[in-house]
């Protein structure tokens, strides 16, 4: 990877962080409502994995902590922010909200609130790919907590049985809301849980994007080449609360501080500076440019965009002008 790409990757992670910090502000200003789940500390997971896939063509699905997966898949950040603001110009026309981002144009398939729900959907995308005979793959990002749902086991079995080209990424941030993984799960090494289903799996650091990319490259190759599922567990940590309402009482300040030392942006920034690829000044200039773009283009677009019209509340219940073969 050359210096330009390295700097781009760092910029993408920094953009993700600043974007979500701005989301938190907008939430406190009540421009964003409902549930808001942010991803700071975990950016290297989505960005590193998708860097080694084909965003825009490979299908991507995840849970409610979906902003950065959508961005890296190619969603326009303006459409994302507008969705969070509940506007007609949002990626889901204001009908979805933070947990339900969709952009089928870039094969970003959502955004789901029910823990474990996306497992079979991801396998379904892979099933359609298999029927079409194309060489895309399906990529499913979910948390450690999701692996205790029945859909996890049911889907692993069928994905392996039917050779579905689906890559399961487990973002193991050690908690499901406020429940520590060892209090909910017997086998805390998630990658070991798919062995009985004959699915190849690995575990690696999710904070160092170079490590994530090395493992993701192998995983993607496996799925794309062999047309079989693969399971990659990324060890990570969210530096903020589960959602905007989280007292944080379930974990110690020391633990959070320890992980903050392993902030993926800090790790990568230091590496690029030490390698002489990046200077501190350059980093600050980039940071300022990002914040300027977020404020003056993205937030502005979202703020100025129109709300959906009340008369349109029943639109999209069914497909408009859908096929009615009985009429022809």
């Amino acid at each position: 990877m050359d210096a330009t790409d390295q700097k781009r990757l760092l910029r993408e992670m920094l953009f993700a962080r600043r974007f979500e910090e701005r989301c938190a502000e907008a939430y406190h200003e009540r421009q964003i409502g409902g549930f808001l789940h942010l991803y700071p500390g975990e950016e290297a997971c989505a960005i590193g994995v998708l860097e080694k896939a084909r965003p825009g063509s490979d299908y991507v699905v995840t849970g409610y902590r979906d902003h950065i997966h959508a961005l890296k898949s190619g969603m326009n950040p303006k459409a994302l922010m507008a969705e969070l603001f509940g506007k007609e110009t949002g990626c889901s026309k204001g009908r979805g909200g933070s947990m339900h981002l969709f952009d089928p144009d870039v094969h970003f398939m959502g955004g789901y609130a029910l823990v474990g729900g996306p497992f079979p959907l991801a396998a379904g995308f892979a099933k359609a790919i298999q029927l079409r005979g194309s060489d895309e793959i399906s990529i499913c990002f979910l948390g450690d907590g999701a692996n205790n749902q029945g859909t996890f086991h049911e889907t692993m079995n069928m994905a392996s049985l039917w050779n579905l080209p689906v890559l399961f990424i487990c973002e193991n941030n050690l908690y499901g809301i406020g429940t520590a993984i060892e209090r909910s799960t017997v086998e805390i090494n998630q990658y070991k849980r798919v062995a009985p289903y004959g699915i190849e799996a690995a575990q690696c650091d999710g904070q160092d994007i170079d490590v994530v990319m090395a493992h993701a490259e192998k995983a993607v190759q496996h799925v794309r080449g062999k047309r079989k599922p693969y399971f990659l567990e990324l060890m990570t940590y969210r530096l903020r609360g589960h959602s905007m309402s989280d007292s944080g009482a379930y974990r110690s300040k020391e633990e959070v501080e320890e992980w903050a030392q392993r902030d993926p942006i800090g790790i990568y920034k230091r590496r690029l500076i030490e390698a002489g690829v990046l200077s501190e000044d350059e980093f600050h200039a980039t940071d300022e440019a990002i914040q300027d773009e977020i404020e003056n283009e993205i937030v502005r677009f979202a703020t100025e965009s129109p709300e959906p019209r009340v008369e349109d509340v029943a639109r999209y219940v069914y497909v408009e002008g859908g096929k009615q073969p009985w009429l022809k």
Binding site: S92, M109, P120, G124, F125, G150, T151, Y316, V317, Q324
Partner: protein, 326 residues
Amino acid sequence: MAEMMYWQGILRAHDEEMARDPLVFAMGEDIGVAGGTYKATSGLFAKYGEQRVIDTPISENSYTGIGVGAAMVGARPIVEIMSVNFAWLAMDQLMNNAAKIHYMSGGRIRCPFVMRLPGGTAHQLGAQHSARMEKVFMGISGLRVVTPATPRDAYGLLKSAVRCDDPVVIIEHEAMYNLKGEIPDTEFFTPLEGVEVMRPGKDVSIFAYNISVHWALEAAQKLAQEYGIDAEVIDLRALKPMDRAGIAASVRKTHRAIVVEEDEAPVGVGSEVIAIINEECFFDLDAAPVRVHALDVPIPYSHRLEKAAIPNADDVIAVARKMLGR
């Protein structure tokens, strides 16, 4: 016009649609090698292969979800749930994903997903194999729910459902798979919306769907022969969205309404139809509408009790006679 059985109509629809579109595929428990519990997919495995006629593990929620996912990116799944009672295990994927994705995505993602299931009381199968769930499906915005009463519609509704861009639930009936009836030889599509007048009449409208259409027709015949009552029998057929105009048109003509359902009354098809009548044409009524329905009990195993729990043509006759004072 060929005489066919209900299951043969379903099979023919599968076969025609799978031959036409390589992205149409079927999945469910025992539908492939075994040919389906009611033969409705028999022979398809040999013809289309295991990629398109898939025997699933007993994992209702996740194979439903796999169907939903495939539908979201352009495939046309027909998912069979072996019995409506097992659809409870698939409700998360059906209700939270299939029904809502199009709306939640602001119309950007379609979910042309079809779920078929036998959904009635057969014969002494016990409480966990005899429940009906139409009231549950009907209550979910975003779904379409249809119920064939004849072999023609078993064929025609599946044809339309596969081509439809919305998620469609087709409720069949275990006791009707061997029912015989005419199906046109040429390709035919039954509308996914609208009622059908099965027997025109002027004295009372009997609204029914699925198996209760046959009870209503039997009742109407006797009412005419023995009591001089000319009943109109309406097959509701589409339970969601329901044909408000079609229901009102019949009531405006007869001024009386009976709803016949195999399900328990609370929160059911009858409640919905009568609410629609109240809203659309209350002042056209000459009598209070009445529901004929199952008892509000889990369906008992005992033959005698089961019979007592489920309504029949005689119940319809009794209600109509009382309503008309004859």
